[in-house]
């Protein structure tokens, strides 16, 4: 009896899909894989064009910060030095300044929109914020250059005066225009819409029954937000911030317009010297020799890998913190 039971194996369960279902399946599968294919092709292209330079420079490509190329009259490369260190540091620095400024502003505006703003104002503000997301980045850059820079300079001087003892805020020689700080502020304005709309979405999903529970216990609105909405939305806000970070790291024109690109690693955020991989590419692309173009492609690959890394990290953080809030 028992041996007969042991011999039973689960049946294979199948279904024969209809043709229309199979066709549709094919279409959506193609859609799903297209982004992977495009991404793969771009990566392959960057790798193919850049590998020569990466092999030549080795690890120094990301640890050195020289960027020079000498050619003879015939156009042959005599000597070349390509290093991205300054640009990578600058990219990270600008992006982090942007996120540090943008996250609190975005979270507060998302909370305001969801829990304080009257309906008519909410509709108007959401439309404006969405518009901000679609605003061309060159305009942000120009506005940053002409309008923001002079006033941010004032703030930079203030920070330097009172917090200058912290190495990060040191400025020597005293040159505060076109610093990573200015670029960070411009980037912050650019990523506020993304972080705000992601935060707004997750805050709006805070469960109504818990919100009512908090109010029924005599909570003020702010106490309710602290107890229910923020724990619920935390992982979503982190995800939004990482999305913003990714955008800030890849941003080109706006940074290029306001940043003074210097090939020297600079951690002093207020000093007018910095870099950004994407701006480097746009700075050098126009009159680059074929060999230098290869170096720029390699730089693009490094930026791409770095952005990918940030996104993976974001995913990891969101998954890890996601459970506690729900």
């Amino acid at each position: 009896m028992s041996s007969a039971v042991e011999q039973v194996t689960p049946r294979e369960i199948t279904t024969e899909p209809r043709r229309s279902d199979r066709v549709f399946r094919g279409i959506v599968t193609a859609g799903g894989f297209s982004s992977l294919l495009i991404l793969g092709l771009i990566t392959a292209f960057l790798g193919y064009r850049g590998f020569e330079v990466i092999l030549e420079e080795g690890f120094g490509f990301i640890t050195n910060s020289d960027w020079s190329i000498t050619t003879d009259e015939a156009g042959n490369v005599v000597e070349s030095n390509f290093g991205l260190a300054a640009m990578l540091v600058g990219t990270i620095l600008c992006a982090f300044i942007a996120v540090i400024i943008a996250v609190p502003i975005s979270v507060f505006s998302a909370l305001f929109l969801n829990f304080y703003a009257p309906n008519w104002l909410k509709r108007i503000l959401i439309a404006i914020i969405d518009l901000m997301a679609a605003f061309p980045s060159i305009l942000f850059g120009i506005w940053g250059f002409l309008v923001l820079m002079p006033s941010v300079e004032y703030w930079a001087k203030l920070i330097n005066k009172y917090l200058g003892f912290i190495p990060l805020f040191e400025v020597k020689p005293y040159f505060v225009t076109r610093s990573p700080f200015v670029a960070g502020v411009v980037l912050a304005i650019m990523i506020i819409p993304i972080i705000t709309s992601v935060s707004r979405e997750v805050f709006a999903q805070a469960p109504l029954d818990r919100i009512q529970a908090a109010y029924a216990l005599g909570a003020t609105r702010w106490a309710m937000i602290k107890a229910v909405v923020i724990p619920h939305g935390r992982s979503g806000v982190i995800g939004g911030a990482m999305l913003g970070l990714g955008r800030a790291m890849g941003e080109t024109v706006a940074v290029f317009t306001v940043l003074n690109i210097v090939f020297q690693v600079n951690w002093h955020v207020l000093l007018g010297a910095g870099g950004n991989v994407a701006s480097l590419i746009i700075l050098k692309f126009g009159d680059a020799s074929p060999y230098e173009i290869k170096a720029l492609m390699a730089a693009g690959l490094v930026l791409f890998v770095m952005t990918l890394g940030v996104n993976a990290l974001a995913d990891f953080i969101v998954k890890r913190t996601g459970k506690s809030g729900r």
Binding site: N119, D209, R210, Q212, A213, A214, A216, G218, A223, A227
Partner: protein, 269 residues
């Protein structure tokens, strides 16, 4: 207040002097859902609100602790007196009203990000109250809600790890922590199994020694088991009205109104 004084049992432990609703109406937008409700809730009694779905029972108890106004377009008229003061009087701090009038909802809703212990004490944090000994309060509230024995060894587990019935008792314990005079219960057992329902009914009986309880229920046996007074609500297409209120035994044995009789004998609803 006269009828309230008449009905109040001589019990010095009972908090407050009861609750009175006077001429309460409620609207959602232009929809008039509740008409002219006059009800007295004597201190230390349990009052059951019964009636078919959509007759405004839940809306009525939500006007008592001012949760009604959270729904956009919601409006009300009339007065609700707690300790002789209208809770809708201008200049009233609504959060203080809700501290005195606790509420237990239909679906258990513990805070998922908090542990069992934190859930019980969450009201203190939310309302920024200080108590001398939190551990004692925690034990007392969980004991009164009939949950202490089951959770005392895992107070730091998350509230969501409990069963539905335990979660509901956790929500009751959470309401008790801020020492309300009145506890409103909106169909607290409708999502629970019979065993859990019985535990909660026992809890209600025990709590009624020290506070005023108003419970909305669709279960007439439950009303008969737990309540001292019963009020029958009905809507015949128009706004919900209170048809009759009396001691529970009378409502179920010799109701004055024909409609009440039809309802409690199961002829409709």
């Amino acid at each position: 207040m006269t009828s309230a004084e008449m009905l109040t049992p001589e019990n010095p432990k009972v908090l407050g002097t009861g609750l009175e609703a006077r001429g309460v109406h409620a609207w959602f937008g232009k929809n008039h859902v509740l008409s002219d409700i006059n009800l007295n809730f004597a201190a230390g009694t349990v009052t059951a609100l019964i009636g078919p779905s959509g007759c405004g029972k839940s809306t009525f108890i939500r006007t008592i602790n001012r949760m009604h106004e959270f729904i956009p377009t919601a409006a009300m008229a009339g007065e609700v007196f707690l300790d002789g003061k209208d809770v809708y009087a201008s200049g009233t701090d609504v959060t203080k009203i809700r501290l005195k009038i606790g509420m237990v909802f239909q679906k258990p809703n513990p805070f998922p990000s908090m542990t069992i212990g934190e859930n019980v004490l969450s009201g203190l944090k939310l309302a920024q109250l200080k108590v001398p000994n939190k551990d004692d309060l925690l034990e007392e509230c969980l004991t009164r809600a009939g949950l202490w024995k089951e959770v005392k060894d895992r107070l730091s587990a998350h509230g969501g790890s409990l069963s539905g019935g335990q979660q509901q008792r956790l929500c009751i314990a959470r309401s008790l922590a801020v020492a309300p005079q009145v506890l409103l219960m909106d169909e607290p057992c409708s999502a629970l199994d019979p065993g859990s329902t019985l535990r909660i009914e026992e809890t209600i009986r025990e709590l009624s020694d020290s506070m005023t309880i108003v419970i909305v229920t669709h279960n007439m046996q439950q009303a008969a088991r737990v309540s001292d007074y019963t009020a029958f609500f009905l809507s015949d297409g128009g706004p919900g009205e209170m048809i009759e209120t009396a001691p529970t035994s009378e409502i179920f044995s010799r109701p004055k109104d024909k409609r009440t009789e039809d309802y409690v004998t199961g002829r409709f609803g």
